[in-house]
């Protein structure tokens, strides 16, 4: 069933790319219908799995590369369930955002988006490390073309920088993967890339450090954490709206998900050893990111740096090794996807009308676009982390986790609460309020029903997750506790059942 989720978008992509869809309009309609069908199917499948226990559900296994010991092994657990759902959600919205923004080669554009989604599904669902790596690297190509072909002026620089930066990190991870496979061979007799086999390996502490570092570098670049973040603003500024939504909504989560699943899952001792330095990097990232937003001139760059800040907070929660922190990190992944996705959607709407991202041109947009003003507010509040919206819940939990681990870390991280409010309100006021900012503002027309639909869904989610966080938290808890149990053997939280192999479902 999961394999169907992974490969159905790929099939749709091929259908779109080479199918009979002639003009621009028919292509986008087909894309929308297909994306909604895909989302419905994924929801139906996700609904099936029961997540009371911590193990992997709906597993499917296939001997794909026996010579190298790598197989095709997919599985779903509490952690990856909601990320898959997020991925399914964002695609229709991304398609809607390119509705009339993309005239050139629409079929290829939508096909690439579907291909990207398929790769992202692959990363979230794969339990075989080589297969994970293949999907991880393959996800670069669709985004490369999306930014490269439909991007802004400096798109070439941005897209090549994006691909090479991520590639450099993940190649070192490839060596670490092969090294781990050798470890598996020495300890279990046969070369294996399977995550479940690896979790039971006893990795000597010395090697663990190196392996952790290699994995961490690859994922830190993707998250992005402080020193490795400079590709994100360029990639976002030059990406088309749909590209930005998918990049911010889903691609950044690959890094944090992988950190949680692999770095914490496989290398407990190293995680403890690296805890403080990582926390420091995250703190810098969070505060530095927020400061950067304050001085940006470009609308998208502001949102990009805010992502750096939010993601810094997320990994902070991750490395606090407390239940609150981990749950907060997982929620941040979801909520950031929704709120930043919505922000980029709005940026797209403005860009469609004014064709510029330079903030000096903007001002008083709410007078011309009251409905957008109505929907923009919850998104801004969510980004600031105001209670009642989803942003608050994950920020509260992450800060709580950090505070529980190291109060000083919690205190510094909490500074982002103030800075967050500062930059978000500055942005809101610069764009929305005040007198009309000139000819471009006069020409603004309010958002159409299509735009209202996509933004409305996200705003509804913002409030729903803000008011009922337990909906998500309750069923990610067992899996998160499993990760924590491995991480801190004598964990204060009641030791959840060891990561049982879960329902060994159909081969």
């Amino acid at each position: 069933m999961l394999s169907l989720i992974i490969f159905s978008p790929l099939a749709f992509a091929l259908a779109l790319a080479f199918g009979p869809w002639g003009g621009h309009k028919s292509a986008r309609r087909a894309a929308l219908v297909l994306s909604l069908a895909q989302a419905a199917f994924t929801a139906w499948v996700l609904w099936g799995g029961d997540f009371s226990a911590a193990g992997f559900q709906l597993q499917e296994r296939l001997a794909w590369l026996p010579a190298l010991g790598a197989g095709y092994h997919v599985g779903l657990d509490g952690i990856s369930r909601w990320l898959v759902a997020l991925n399914a959600l964002l695609l229709p919205i991304a398609v809607l955002s390119s509705w009339n923004a993309v005239e050139r080669y629409p079929r290829a554009h939508y096909a690439l988006m579907f291909a990207l989604q398929s790769m992202v599904y692959g990363v979230f669902l794969s339990l075989d490390m080589l297969q994970f790596y293949i999907f991880w690297e393959a996800s670069l190509l669709p985004m490369y073309f999306l930014i490269g072909v439909w991007g802004g002026e400096r798109r070439l620089y941005a897209t090549v920088k994006f691909v090479l930066y991520t590639l450099a990190g993940s190649l070192l991870m490839l060596l670490a993967l092969v090294w781990m496979a050798f470890l598996a061979r020495t300890q279990t007799g046969h070369l294996s890339f399977d995550f479940l086999d690896w979790s039971s390996l006893a990795i000597p502490a010395g090697q663990q450090m190196w392996l952790f570092a290699a994995f961490f570098l690859a994922f830190a670049i993707k998250v992005p954490l402080f020193p490795f973040h400079t590709w994100l603003p360029d990639a976002h500024v030059e990406a088309p709206t749909a590209g930005s939504i998918l990049l911010a909504g889903v691609l950044l989560k690959l890094g944090t998900y992988a950190l949680m699943r692999f770095n914490l899952g496989l290398f407990p001792e190293a995680a403890h050893a690296f805890q403080k330095p990582v926390l420091i990097i995250c703190l810098i990232g969070a505060v530095y990111g927020a400061l950067m937003v304050l001085v940006q001139r470009d609308f998208k760059k502001m949102v990009a740096y805010s992502s750096v800040s939010h993601m810094g907070l997320c990994v902070l929660g991750l490395f606090s090794f407390t239940l609150a922190g981990e749950q907060g990190a997982l929620l941040t992944m979801l909520n950031h996807g929704i709120s930043t996705g919505a922000l980029f959607l709005i940026v797209g709407m403005f860009y469609e009308r004014t064709h510029t991202r330079d903030l000096s041109v903007y001002g008083g947009a709410v007078l011309k676009m009251p409905v957008l003003g109505l929907l923009f507010l919850p998104v801004a509040l969510s980004s600031m982390g105001v209670p009642g919206t989803n942003g608050f819940v994950n920020e509260f939990l992450c800060l709580r986790g950090a505070f529980e681990a190291f109060p000083w870390a919690g205190a510094v991280a909490a500074l982002t609460v103030i800075l967050g409010a500062a930059y978000m309100l500055r942005l809101t006021q610069k764009v929305m309020y005040g007198p009309l900012g000139g000819a471009k503002m006069e020409a603004l027309t309010d958002i159409t029903t299509r735009e209202r639909a996509s933004l409305g869904v996200l705003v509804a989610l913002i409030f729903a997750l803000g008011i009922f966080p337990e909906g998500i938290l309750s069923n990610t808890q067992p899996s998160v506790q499993a990760v924590l149990a491995r991480l801190t053997p004598g964990a204060s939280t009641p030791a959840a059942p060891a990561p049982a192999a879960g329902g060994e479902a159909r081969p």
Binding site: W64, L65, P66, A67, L68, Y105, A108, L130, Y133, I134, F135, E137, A138, L140, L141, Y144, F145, G148, V149, R155, L156, T159, V160, V163, L164, L167, A168, L171, L172, L174, L175, V178, W179, A181, F182
Partner: protein, 486 residues
């Protein structure tokens, strides 16, 4: 007493003999029929010969390892697949030559004859256990290649390439001769199997072992030159740019297959791979990677870019060789797999270059490809797949073989070299992404070629088929990795 060399010995050399007889047949047919139609006939004969050679190689593979001529020739699973690869590369070169033939007068029977002679010699070198036999085979296909490089009409660059290649090739051959002399001095014979017998028994006195190492190093120099490894690779870009595209392809894919086949014999024969070589290879591998990738970084002439990329790929294969010493590292298999996949990738790339430069008087520039992405979808898609595969990104066969090569290196314990080498693939990715950038992301440039890229006929079909093969192998590499079991 005269050793009885019977039919059985000849059977081992079946593929080689097929090629050489094929060459003779081609020459005969050309003399018999002087008319234009003979060109097609000659080409068919060459194709037939290569087909037979490939079939015989497959037969040998099925029949399992066997030695002939008193141990001078020893084939096994890996050499046989090398021979199969070489036959296939020959066929692919024919396909390329056919497209080229019309415009650049390549249809002379001599081209096919030389090609077949060279292939015969290459197949011979991959199975020869005797240094002298290897030397003769090396010289045979080198001579053929010098002339092939300088083959066609009086386009100025072409002749310079031939001269350069000849002078440097002869210079390298001289090293081989001296190396052979030293090996003879150390072992009393130039038979590699004798070497392994002596060495494994530990009976060789220290100074003679020193002489053996020196000899082998000198021999390796010539082979490394042929393959285009780092300090010896300088001829590659000039000769590729100078010669016609099918010859350039043949030089890169064929020479690599033959060179590494011989190197495997040379280094593999000596048990435990004599002390100096892993370290030497590590230095050479990294140097080759750097030279190839960095050279290609800002290259605009497509053929020169492919030349530098060929050097870079030699570097990756050398990384695979690092695992030669340790058992079970599958180094030989990874080298074999990489060179085969390279042959396919190179064919797609060179084929598309050949198609694109059809009408141009000047060498094909990256600029000419601008804006072709959506106008010539299938052409661009094939080139894109080739480029992604060469960069070694996952969904393609390039990634699988690169993984195999790095696995071998890591298994051999060369972690540092592996790390430096894998970082190099970032540079190589940058190189190939530039091509994709030109194809898809840049508008048609005013002084670029006006869309000469016509994918038609057998070349078009072969290119697209092999591009799909690259993708298929990437997703379902079962067959590719079956080689791993060798």
């Amino acid at each position: 007493m005269i050793p009885a060399y019977g039919l059985r010995d000849l059977a081992v050399l079946g593929p080689e003999i097929a090629c050489i007889l094929g060459a003779a047949l081609v020459l005969g047919l050309d003399m018999a029929f002087r008319s234009q139609s003979s060109k097609r006939l000659v080409e068919a004969a060459a194709a037939l010969a290569l087909g037979v050679s490939a079939a015989l190689a497959l037969g040998r593979l099925a029949a399992g390892p066997g030695s002939a001529f008193g141990g001078q020739v020893l084939d096994g699973a890996v050499p046989d697949v090398f021979r199969l690869g070489l036959a296939a590369t020959g066929l692919l070169t024919l396909v390329l030559a056919r497209r080229e033939g019309g415009s650049q007068g390549l249809l002379h029977a001599e081209f096919y004859a030389l090609l077949l002679f060279a292939l015969g010699a290459m197949e011979l070198i991959t199975v020869s256990q005797d240094l002298m036999l290897s030397f003769v085979a090396l010289e045979t296909f080198s001579l053929a290649m010098y002339v092939l490089a300088g083959f066609n009409k009086a386009w100025h660059g072409n002749r310079e390439a031939a001269l350069k290649y000849f002078l440097l090739g002869a210079f390298a051959a001289a090293f081989f001769v001296l190396g052979m002399a030293l090996v003879f001095g150390a072992l009393g014979s130039v038979r590699l199997d004798a070497a392994s017998a002596l060495l494994s028994g530990g009976k060789l006195a220290a100074p003679r072992e020193m002489l053996l190492d020196l000899g082998l190093s000198l021999c390796a120099t010539a082979l490394l030159f042929k393959v285009g490894a780092a300090p010896f690779h300088l001829w590659t870009p000039d000769v590729y740019a100078g010669s016609t595209t099918p010859v350039a392809y043949f030089l890169s894919a064929g020479a690599k297959l033959a060179g590494f086949g011989a190197l495997l014999k040379l280094l593999g024969a000596v048990p435990g791979c004599p002390a100096p070589f892993p370290q030497i290879l590590a230095v050479l591998a990294v140097a080759t990677l750097l030279a190839g990738n960095l050279g290609a970084l800002r290259q605009t002439n497509l053929k020169r870019l492919l030349a530098y990329s060929s050097v870079a790929h030699t570097g990756y294969v050398l990384v695979g060789l690092l695992g030669l010493g340790t058992a079970g590292s599958g180094a030989a298999a990874s080298v074999l797999a990489y060179t085969l996949v390279y042959a396919v990738m190179a064919f797609v790339a060179f084929g598309l270059v050949a198609a694109a430069e059809g009408g141009l008087k000047r060498p094909l520039l990256l600029e000419d490809l601008q804006g072709m992405g959506f106008e010539r979808p299938y052409f661009s898609l094939a080139l894109a797949v080739a480029m992604v595969s060469m960069a070694g990104l996952p969904p393609t066969a390039g990634f699988i073989v690169k993984l195999g090569v790095f696995k071998a290196a890591l298994d051999g314990g060369h972690t540092l070299a592996a790390v430096v080498a894998i970082l190099n693939s970032v540079v190589s990715a940058a190189v190939y992404l530039r091509v994709l950038v030109a194809l898809y992301m840049l508008p048609k440039s005013p002084d670029g070629a006006q869309g000469g890229a016509r994918l038609s006929g057998t070349l078009g079909f072969a290119v697209v088929a092999l591009a799909l093969a690259l993708l298929a192998l990437g997703l379902l590499p079962g067959s590719l990795l079956a080689l791993g079991s060798l």
